[in-house]
Each structure stands twice: as C-alpha cells, then as structure tokens.
C-alpha cells in the first residue's frame, strides 16, 4: 500500500511535469504512487512477452525509471494499462524493453551497465554473453539453429 505521502509526491511530479506529458488531460491513475517492484515486473513481463525476469535487475531498471520524475509518471500510466498509449508512454515502454535487452539503463542521463550476462539480447541470439564459455569446442562451425 502506498502511503499518502508517496501519493502526494507523485501528484507533485505530475503537476511539475510539462503539459505534454499529461495523458490528454486525463486524471492521473488512481494508483498514483511510486510503482512497486511487483508492478514493474508485471509491466516488464507484459512489454517483453516473457514470464521469468530477474528481480534484482528489475529493481535496478525500476530505480532508473523512478529517478526521472516524468518517467515515473509515465510508468504509473503503464502500470494501469498500455491500451491507447500516448507517445510518452510508448517511448518509456521502448526504453524499458531496450534496457532489458541490452542490460544498459540510463540514470540522470548517464548510461549505466546493469548486467552483461543477463542482457536478454544474448538469449534472443541463441548465444551466451561474450566472455562466457558457449559450449563444446567447434560448435561455431555448425549452421545456426
């Protein structure tokens, strides 16, 4: 349960955000509190189409989103629903997907490596992350699966 104080903080963030970031002047989501880890995992699962995601990584990415007041607002909208998303919601959704795939997030405008081996792009490519043994000698000479 989010505290009233947290709700108030997010309200402030909404009011401080440029008008363009407000969702078509709709009232802010009723769950207008800083997104919880479970909520962020649920959003991530929905965006990625994957059920098993690393909680520690999720916490890093969540903290990165929440470090930006505008993004925190957009994340609250995404928690509620990603039907009829605004361009701002779409942008944040893309960012979250990118972070999970590359293992690199952005905090205060600076890129930060969250994980090397846990970046989803390696498994999407069907390989292990560079620097980790890939399997039997000579496997690279076989056609890709």
């Amino acid at each position: 349960m989010a505290s009233l104080t947290r709700r108030a903080l997010l309200w402030s963030a909404v009011w401080l955000a440029p008008a363009a970031h407000l969702r078509a002047f709709a009232p802010p989501p009723s769950a207008a509190a800083p997104t919880s880890l479970d909520e962020f995992l649920e959003v991530s699962q929905r965006l990625l189409g994957r059920s098993k995601l690393d909680r520690e990584l999720a916490q890093i990415y969540l903290d990165a989103v929440l470090s930006n007041a505008d993004d925190a607002v957009q994340l609250a909208y995404l928690v509620e629903s990603n039907a009829n998303p605004t361009p701002e919601m779409k942008a944040l959704a893309s960012t979250i997907i990118e972070w999970w795939y590359t293992g690199v997030c952005t905090i205060n405008g600076a890129p930060r490596l969250a994980t090397h081996t846990g970046a989803l792009m390696w498994s999407a490519l069907g390989i292990t992350a560079p620097g980790t043994c890939a399997g039997p000698f000579g496997a690279w000479s076989h056609p890709p699966v």
Partner: protein
C-alpha cells in the same frame, strides 16, 4: 631494493617472457622488470563484465604509474601531432598485450624480408625467411599454434603445426563457398588458440571474447612464459618502471634506473640488458636516456630510434548477408583472404590481408545493442523482436582489410619532456601519417569487400571512411646490417652497445601484411643464443 642479475629484461610480454624462460632455463640469473601490475584473470574477467564500454583495454588496470593508451581515446596517453591519429594500443602489465591480442599466428611470407631488392620500396631485412623458418617452428610450438596443413599461406613450412586446426566458423564456410571460382580463396587462419588441451591449457570454448580476454586461456598469452620463467628461477618484478638506461664510458650498458609507484628509485645491474617493452615504450626509454655523452639517447647513433613507426591501417566494411551465417559464435576470426600478402604488384601498392570477422557489427556499429534499439524503434516486440534480432545478427558480416605500411622516417615517437605522466616520466609524442602506398592497398581491399558482399548477396552495405588501427606497433628500433640505418643487428643486438638487446616488433624493418606476434616470438627465440654468447 636494487636488483642484480646476469640478464635484466625490461618488459614481460611475449618477447621478454619467451627470452626469460629460455635464459632462466639455461641456468642464467634473470630479472624481469615490468612497468605495470600483475593481473589476475578472474578479476580481469569481472572488470570486463562490469565495463560499460568493452574496448580491448576494458578488463585491465590503467595505473597512474604505468598508463597505457586506450582504444576509444587516441589522446588519452599519446600526444599526437601527425596527419593521422595513431590509434594502436598496448598494455603495460605482467604478460603484456597478449592479454588482449586476437591470437592470429601467421608467418610473414618470404618476400616480406626483401621488399627493397624485389620491389624497390622500403628496406630489406638483414635476415631471410629461411633464416627465420626454424624459429617460426619453435615459436609455433611455444605458443601452441593450431593450423590447417592444407592452407595456402605462401609461407613454406619445414614442420607441421603443433595443433590441429580450429574449425572454420559457419560464416567463413559459407563465404568460402560463395567465393568458389573467384581469385579470393578463403584460408583458415593459423591461431595460437588451443584446438585441444595443450601446455596445460584447455581447448577453446567459444567465448567470443578473444579480444579483450579469453576466460579460460585457450588463447595463448605471455603469462604462460612468465610462469615458466619463474619456475626456472627468474625473478619477475611488477610495478617497476624503467625510466633510464645508464651507459658507461666503454659503451656498455651498466644499469637501469627504476621508478616505483611511490616515487622511489632503484637500480638494476647486470651483464646483459634486454629491452622488450614494445614499439612505443622501448624507443621512448632509449630516447629519454639522453645524456651529455649520448645527446641523441641510448642506442641511437643512427638517429633511427623512434622513427619508422608502422601499423597495419585497417578499414571496416560491413553488410547484411542474404542468409543466416550464425556469427557472434566462436573465435573472433577463423579465416582470411591471404593471397594479397604476396604479389608482383608490391612495387605499386602495399600488401594486405583481409580478416573475415566473426563478431557481427559489434566493432563498427555497436551491435547487437544498436540493432535492438533499431528494431524496437520499428515497433517490434516479444517473440517478433527476438526473431528479427536473431535473424539480423546472424547475417551481419564484417570484412577488415589490414594493409602494410612502409617505414617512413617522419612517422615517429619521441618522449615529450614537457608533458609527463603521474610519476614524472615523459609521455609519448607521436607523429604519424598513412601514405599513398598504403592507401592504394586499402582501395583494393575495399574492392574485394564489394566482391565478397556481392557473392553473399548482401544488402545494407557500409564502408567506413576512416582508417582504424590494428594495434600492431612496429618499426621503431629496426634491425639491419648497416649501423648508420638501423638500431640493432640481425641478432637484435644494439650496434652501439654490445650488451644491449632490443626485442619486439620495433625491430621489424618493414611491416609485412601479417599480424606481428608470431614473428616477434620467432625473433625473440632466435636472439636467445646471441644474448647468451654476449655474456662476458
């Protein structure tokens, strides 16, 4: 603490450690002074994993007392003056730059040793291919070279490779098949990478990270010979920056001045001195050792120390093949086009080779991360994104021509006495340019890339306009018969100081078009008996 030994060696890379292992094994007292620290593989691997930008230097410490150049910033350590930035890098740590070399272990071809007499350009070596051939065999055994005996590499062999070949990547097989019938036959690359257990190191596990680090040491690095030298009784002193070479009135080197990270100084004395600190630090040390008696520096009566700096200028060309090739798997390169290393046209343009890279667009375009961003930007999500990413990545080809450079006196490295590092040692000032002889070869390389791209029915074709460095630093204390034109003789012994030997690719009179490490190793092994003979 002062050191004293029969042989004092500066540098613990492939040249210094190979010589040390042999000399200590022969019962001589050997001290190796290494400017940089000892590095543990596990901590280097951890640092690599945690690095945001995975440049070749990413896993390794860049200490204030032994700074090294960085691939993503040519002005990090070098001070640059020339038309082209010199982008080649090296490491200063126990084991040297072999920590992040690719592992390519090609021999030079016979014409590389007689460029002047055959083609009227460059300068001849004081030794021939035949002189070096037995030492290539030795070097291949020491490093553990896996090679295909049927490969056509224009370099005659008297003995077989010690290890069976590394299988070609699937991409290389498909490229070879696509080029069948053309002049561009794809040849398996000899590699100092284990294809089976050798020298107590395992076979390659396909980590696809030869540069910057092999996690299991299937790829040879010089820590192998550092350990062997230590087992034979050699003393390895890390964090020992040699700042000056002292020469007596009789012309013999008497001592080395060593600076430690805390600023304290020591001396190392010995009967024979071997400097094997690679193509920038070795000439810098000799030049910064200037005195009233030797105002041009040590070993520099020829004025050739620091000159003739060469690299293998390279070009990045990349495209998207029509079919999945399964790149991003296995060693970073397993094959190349090699016929271009030898030919009668060398009077007109440089020799070159073409490396078929095996890591997709990682180097030229930051893939696969950038591919992820592009595909997400196109709205792809979930399984569709995975499929598109796998398909794109699998088809990414990178073709890299590496070209020979001629020795040019104006291409040089000197110590800058006004710009010093954290412990007060002059930083390297570099003047470097790429001449038309090399540029013409780059054009030929690009033409062959286009033929390969066409054979693979590739699309999305990119040709980087800029030249990149290969981190092959050569030529800055060259060997020769004429003391007026060269720094060391055919045994890599200084023309000026009989108890001083210089090892490493700095002795190369010309650069050839092959990766230098095997030739560095062969020359170092060849020098060992002369070093022993020089002990009075």
């Amino acid at each position: 603490m002062p050191w004293s030994a029969d042989i004092v060696i500066v540098g613990s890379g492939v040249a210094g450690s190979l010589a040390a292992a042999r000399l200590a094994g022969a019962g001589l007292k050997v001290v190796i002074l290494e400017a940089g620290p000892r590095v543990q593989r596990a901590s280097a691997l951890a640092q690599y994993r945690e690095a945001l930008i995975k440049i070749p230097e990413a896993p390794y410490p860049d200490t204030p007392y032994a700074p090294h150049p960085k691939s993503d910033d040519p002005d990090h350590y070098y001070l640059q003056d020339g038309n082209n930035k010199f982008g080649s890098t090296y490491l200063r740590q126990v084991g040297g730059t072999t920590w992040h070399w690719l592992g390519t272990a090609l021999r030079f071809v016979p014409d590389d040793f007689r460029l002047r007499s055959r083609f009227g350009v460059g300068i001849d070596w004081p030794i021939s291919y035949d002189d070096l051939e037995p030492w290539y065999c030795e070097a291949e055994r020491e490093l553990g070279v896996a090679g295909d005996p049927n490969a056509d590499l224009n370099a005659p062999r008297s003995q077989p490779y010690p290890l069976p070949p590394i299988p070609l990547s699937y991409a290389d097989q498909r490229t070879a098949a696509s080029l069948k019938g053309s002049t561009h036959s794809v040849q398996p690359t000899p590699q100092a990478r284990n294809s089976e257990r050798y020298d107590n190191r395992p076979a390659c596990c396909g980590s696809a990270s030869c540069i910057p680090i092999c996690p299991v040491q299937a790829k040879y690095d010089a820590t192998t010979h550092v350990a062997r030298a230590e087992r034979a009784g050699a003393q390895v002193v890390a964090d020992a920056v040699v700042t000056s070479v002292e020469v007596g009135a009789d012309g013999r080197v008497t001592a080395l001045i060593v600076k430690r990270p805390d600023g304290s100084e020591d001396r190392a004395t010995g009967k024979v001195f071997v400097i094997a600190a690679h193509g920038i630090e070795t000439p810098k040390l000799l030049l910064q050792s200037r005195t009233d008696r030797l105002p041009a520096g040590v070993a520099n009566s020829s004025d050739q120390v620091g000159r003739n700096l060469m690299d293998h200028p390279a070009q990045l060309n990349w495209a998207l093949a029509a079919e999945p090739l399964g790149v991003y798997r296995g060693p970073l390169a397993t094959a190349g086009i090699e016929w271009t290393r030898a030919g009668d046209w060398r009077s007109e343009h440089a020799a070159f080779r073409i490396q078929l890279d095996n890591a997709g667009w990682a180097w030229p375009a930051g893939a696969p991360g950038t591919t992820v961003r592009d595909l997400i930007g196109k709205g792809l999500r979930g399984a569709e994104l995975d499929r598109a990413l796998a398909d794109h990545s699998s088809r990414e080809i990178l073709i890299v021509p590496l070209v020979e450079q001629l020795p040019l006196a104006a291409n040089r490295i000197v110590p800058d006495f006004d710009r010093r590092d954290a412990i007060g040692v002059p930083r390297p000032r570099i003047t470097y340019a790429i001449d038309d002889y090399s540029k013409r070869a780059l054009e030929h390389g690009r033409r062959i890339f286009r033929e390969i791209a066409a054979a693979l029915k590739a699309t999305d074709i990119h040709e980087a306009p800029d030249v990149v460095s290969s981190s092959h630093v050569m030529g800055t204390y060259r060997m020769g018969s004429d003391p007026r034109q060269s720094v060391v003789n055919r045994d890599q012994q200084s023309h000026d100081h009989p108890n001083l030997f210089l090892l490493g690719s700095g002795v190369f009179p010309t650069s050839a078009a092959s990766n230098p490490t095997l030739t560095i190793a062969a020359l170092a092994l060849r020098a060992v008996s002369a070093i022993q003979r020089s002990i009075l």
